[in-house]
Symmetry: C2
Subunit: 73 residues, 2 copies
Amino acid sequence: MPKPEILDPQGKAVQGALPRLGFTGVTDVRQGKRFEIELEGEVTDAVLAEVEKMAETLLSNPVIENYTVSVEQ
Amino acid sequence: MPKPEILDPQGKAVQGALPRLGFTGVTDVRQGKRFEIELEGEVTDAVLAEVEKMAETLLSNPVIENYTVSVEQ
């Protein structure tokens, strides 16, 4: 997701469109990316550390984006 | 996220880049969008139904994308 201090024009565009489409009560919209990564074998701590490194070096731009990694079985 | 039967060239590009960067054991990568929506007041069933409708009509393209809605307090 874009860092809180980074402008997010896509999110703002969505937020601006919502009232025009009849949706109210939305105070903020942020748009980011989501990656679903399938892995071989079990998710050990070492594997998770690899995925964190992947997220930091390849999947996100750490200058403007934050990331979170979560595991779904 | 792109539906399983839809080609995902961005995901495939990431999957192709991973071994070159020394990451192994990844069997599939899919890339999609993530929206963080902040709402006024409590998340009742009615509000959640509104957000589902938002996801279906504005935030996703139901021809090629699936979506899930989850609540974080």
